[in-house]
């Protein structure tokens, strides 16, 4: 180090937040006696302009080259003080903060011990900062294009937002049409807008936008690289139809020689059938048919007369199509892969899959949809029309046996379906809920509306649905057994139709994509945001953002808000064109590296390479996230880390534990051995084994 450390210590009162519990003057006085400390002051609000000016003046006038601020958590004001250092001409990393508010003044009441602790923390920071070195923030270039994974409402909205900002978007959707789950819904709560009416224009806009490349029937196979420079391999499934030629006239579907519409139509939740050649759904975008090789006779039996090819005036069918891979380079990625409805079969007590007239809410969305299998008529699987309907809330949600979380949308979905079923069938509708959660805008009002619809509300979790008639009035009915917790009665309610309001589960393959993208999942299996409140669309992998239900259950409005936010993050990166690399990254000191490669498997991000000619390991700073696992694991002590170097931590320990005046002022250029070398003695080891 060129100059001897000249350290300034600044103790903040934080109004009375700190000074009420910590004797700040004493802390400053104690700091003054520490080695290398040139000035120690305390002030009411260190983070105020006046406080910052105080620091800056000392830097200039006293020639400070290190600063310690004893104040709040570095999570809060470290950036503020770093900026202050920078504008005073000091490298921002020559700062160390001592957290004497959150981790001292706020959790203690005894002034004496809190003050002693503050002194310890300041002393540790002083020892540490002496070994700080100037670090340069390096910049990495950011590619302007953005990849959006998932073509549901969140993915479409994110793609359109980015595209409207003039950046190019690749939108990758697994199904052969965009639209996602929202395309299935009949109406949306609480406004009762027709779902398709509000979504269709967006679908068209995505299809026609000059800045959007839309790939349906496609999946992200591999992603590598880092923020600003991601490379992705997109696998495109064969649909056996040329997307550019097909106009969606459906003559091929009519002509198909497959006997009957026997293949369960996934879009209609299996409530209707389709042929092997099909349009995913009536308003699919792109409006292009696809061939299902699992059922098409050309594949299953090795051939048919191919009447589909004969009738196609555009010669769009291509049975020789094979899957192919597209490789793209993007600067950031928005993940909007959505959710899976909870599998109602798991909740065996409700008889889904046993009693035909037990439906899931997703099925009912199709059943009451004018473009659904019954053209909106509520006709049950057994051909009858229901006189009484039971709507069961929280199926699979708020349940430790299945999903412990609240799926957030089910109460409103159930209210909406109750309202629509009541309106369209005139049936008696019973709602069985545990707690009514209608917290969104306009939602409580909607609840009030349904309360006045004549719909019946029973507060209680249904224990079972069963066709056991205890009374003649229950013959031929499905009986719902529930404790009406409001009246205190155990009730049996006979109905013709049961609607299970299924919650949201993470997609069953979400873990695969999580690994591909190297993002985290929370305990529930949904993708984990960087910070629940302050970075809700970021992930811990820079440049990868999440939106919609892949992050957790939410309704359409929240999905769209989040998608807009994720798009804004992607746009910001793209527009800025460069990215600041946090200089906490690790680097290998080549002279010390033995080439043992112990560090390589320790790196979760594959940032460590091995250069054959020199026989040394190397760290790619762009991939390194600064976790320090390799630093701790290197047997030769050859890996150094910015801001978290061994020497700095040892110095912090010395300051914390050894008391005033006896601190280490070890050189920053090498690994500082501990004050006392610890070696298990033969005696101690031997006796331990005995």
């Amino acid at each position: 180090m060129a100059d001897a450390p000249r350290i300034g210590v600044y103790v903040c009162h934080c109004g009375a937040n700190i000074s009420a519990t910590v004797d700040v003057a004493a802390v400053a006085a104690d700091a003054e006696s520490l080695p290398n400390v040139v000035a120690a002051r305390h002030y009411t609000y260190m983070c105020s302009d006046a406080g910052l000016a105080l620091v800056q003046a000392d830097i200039r006038e006293l020639g400070l080259n290190r600063v310690v601020v004893a104040a709040c958590s570095p999570h809060l004001h470290e950036p503020t003080f770093r900026r202050a250092l920078a504008s005073a001409g000091l490298n921002p990393h020559l700062l160390q903060m001592a957290n004497i508010r959150e981790q001292d003044a706020w959790i203690h009441t005894d002034r004496e011990s809190a003050t002693r602790k503050a002194c310890d923390l300041v002393r540790a920071a002083v020892h540490r900062v002496a070994l700080h070195t100037p670090l340069d923030i390096r910049k990495a270039a950011v590619r302007p294009d953005v990849l959006v994974i998932g073509g549901g409402i969140a993915g479409m909205h994110a793609a359109l937002t980015v595209a409207n900002a003039g950046k190019h978007v690749y939108l990758v959707e697994r199904e052969f049409s965009i639209g996602g789950q929202m395309a299935r819904y009949d109406k949306t709560f609480p406004t009762l807008d027709c779902s398709l009416c509000i979504q269709a224009p967006k679908m068209t806009a995505v299809r026609t936008h000059e800045n959007i490349t839309l790939w349906t029937g496609s999946e992200v196979e591999e992603v590598y690289g880092h923020v600003g420079d991601y490379r992705a391999r997109i696998r495109r499934r064969a649909r056996y139809v040329d997307e550019n030629l097909c106009v969606g006239c459906l003559q091929c579907v009519d002509a198909c020689c497959y006997d009957g519409d026997l293949i369960p139509d996934a879009f209609n939740m299996g409530l209707s059938g389709r042929k092997p050649i099909y349009l995913p759904f009536a308003h699919a975008v792109p409006t292009v048919v696809a061939v299902d090789p699992g059922s098409c006779l050309n594949f299953t039996r090795g051939g048919c007369d191919r009447p589909c090819t004969d009738v196609c005036g555009r010669d769009a069918l291509d049975f020789d199509q094979t899957p192919w891979v597209e490789e793209i380079e993007v600067g950031s990625i928005v993940v909007a892969t959505g959710f899976e409805p909870f599998d109602a079969r798991k909740a065996t007590e409700y008889g889904y899959g046993i009693y035909p007239n037990v439906y899931t809410s997703m099925e009912v969305e199709r059943l009451i949809n004018a473009s659904g299998p019954t053209a909106g008529e509520v006709i049950l699987r057994d051909g009858t029309r229901p006189q009484a309907i039971g709507v069961i809330y929280c199926v699979g949600s708020r349940d430790e046996r299945y999903n412990p979380w609240c799926s957030r949308v089910c109460c409103m979905t159930a209210l909406k379906l109750s309202h629509l079923l009541c309106e369209r069938t005139g049936a008696e509708v019973y709602n069985f809920y545990i707690d009514m959660r209608a917290a969104g805008k306009g939602q409580e009002e909607f609840y009030q509306r349904v309360l006045n619809d004549g719909v019946q509300f029973v507060r209680g979790k249904v224990a079972e649905v069963c066709d056991w008639a205890l009374d003649p009035s229950e013959e031929g009915k499905l009986v719902i057994r529930v404790e009406d917790t409001m009246t205190g009665y155990v009730r049996r309610v006979p109905v013709d139709m049961v609607v299970l309001t299924v919650g949201m589960s993470p997609r069953s393959d979400s873990d695969e994509l999580r690994r591909t993208l190297n993002v985290g999942c929370s305990g529930d299996g949904f993708y984990r945001e960087r910070h629940a409140k302050l970075a809700p669309v970021g992930t811990l992998t820079d440049g990868i953002f999440i939106a919609g239900c892949c992050q957790g259950p939410k309704d359409i409005s929240d999905s769209v808000s989040q998608a807009g936010s994720a798009a804004a993050e992607a746009i910001a990166l793209s527009v800025k064109g460069s990215y600041d690399l946090d200089p906490i990254t690790a680097r290998v000191v080549a002279e010390s590296c033995s080439g043992c490669r112990v560090c390589m498997p320790l790196c979760p991000f594959g940032a460590i390479g091995y250069a054959e000619p020199g026989g040394k390991c190397e760290i790619n700073a762009a991939l390194c996230t600064g976790c320090g696992a390799c630093v701790a694991g290197c047997p030769s002590g050859a890996i150094r880390q910015g801001m978290f170097d061994d020497a700095q931590v040892f110095a912090e320990l010395s300051g914390l534990l050894l008391g005033a005046g006896s601190g280490s002022s070890g050189s920053a250029s090498g690994r500082v051995p501990p004050a006392v070398s610890l070696q298990p003695s033969a005696e101690a080891t031997g006796s331990a084994l005995r």
Binding site: E349, C394, R398, D399, E400, R401, I434, D435, R459, G460, K461, V462, A463, E464, R481, V482, E483, D484, T485, G488, V490
Partner: protein, 212 residues
């Protein structure tokens, strides 16, 4: 009841001076009647550690085949326990109606072992002697346990006979017909077997009793 009459039923009055029929009972719970420490006793009882997670959804009551006979449904019992209304919970008939069929446990979305709570309440009711006299269920338990403690095994025949004698001797006649039919089918064993390691077991039982 007229409004002015109701106003007279002030909450701090002593016995309610109402002669009208049907009888009007005052029901008001003062917080001092609640045993705030009671819930804590269950926290480390096997199976009961999740009682505090109860959301009062009522799945236990709905699944219970006997809740329709109960004065307090399992869900309400759970609420009584959580609020510390100890004597109300222990005096309820409900705990004696439980057959431990575990339907409530299977139905509970919070994985609370309601059946184990029932056992715990029954035990406490027996310990504090608040169950009704001549009530057959606790008598059966008592007889069962005495039999096993002394002989190591139980016998259907003797158990039924003793329990009936203690709870409702008159019913013995009704039992005779059933007994006769079982006897004819070779299903009644009048001899009672003891087991060889009994002394050892009794010692351990006693040791624990002494310790407690």
């Amino acid at each position: 009841m007229r409004r002015d009459a109701r106003d007279k039923l002030s909450e701090d009055a002593g016995p309610v001076p109402v002669q009208s029929r049907p009888a009007i009972r005052r029901e008001l719970k003062l917080q001092r009647e609640a045993d705030g420490a009671w819930l804590g006793k269950f926290a480390d009882l096997p199976g009961c550690e999740r009682i505090a997670s109860c959301t009062q959804c009522g799945a236990c009551s709905a699944a219970c085949p006997l809740s329709i006979y109960m004065d307090v449904t399992p869900r309400r019992l759970m609420a009584l326990v959580r609020s510390g209304f100890r004597s109300e919970a222990l005096k309820s008939r409900s705990i004696w109606l439980c057959t431990s069929c575990y339907a409530c446990v299977a139905a509970c979305p919070q994985k609370i072992s309601v059946a184990d709570l029932m056992f715990a309440l029954k035990r406490e009711a027996i310990e504090t002697r608040v169950y009704p006299k001549r009530f057959a269920v606790p008598v059966l338990s008592d007889e069962f346990m005495n039999m096993v403690r002394t002989r190591g095994r139980s016998s259907d025949f003797w158990l039924a006979a003793r329990m009936t004698l203690r709870s409702s001797p008159a019913a013995l006649f009704g039992m005779a017909a059933i007994g006769w039919r079982l006897w004819r089918a070779g299903r009644l064993r009048l001899s009672m077997e003891g087991i060889h390691l009994l002394a050892e077991f009794q010692r351990a039982s006693l040791a624990r009793k002494d310790a407690a």
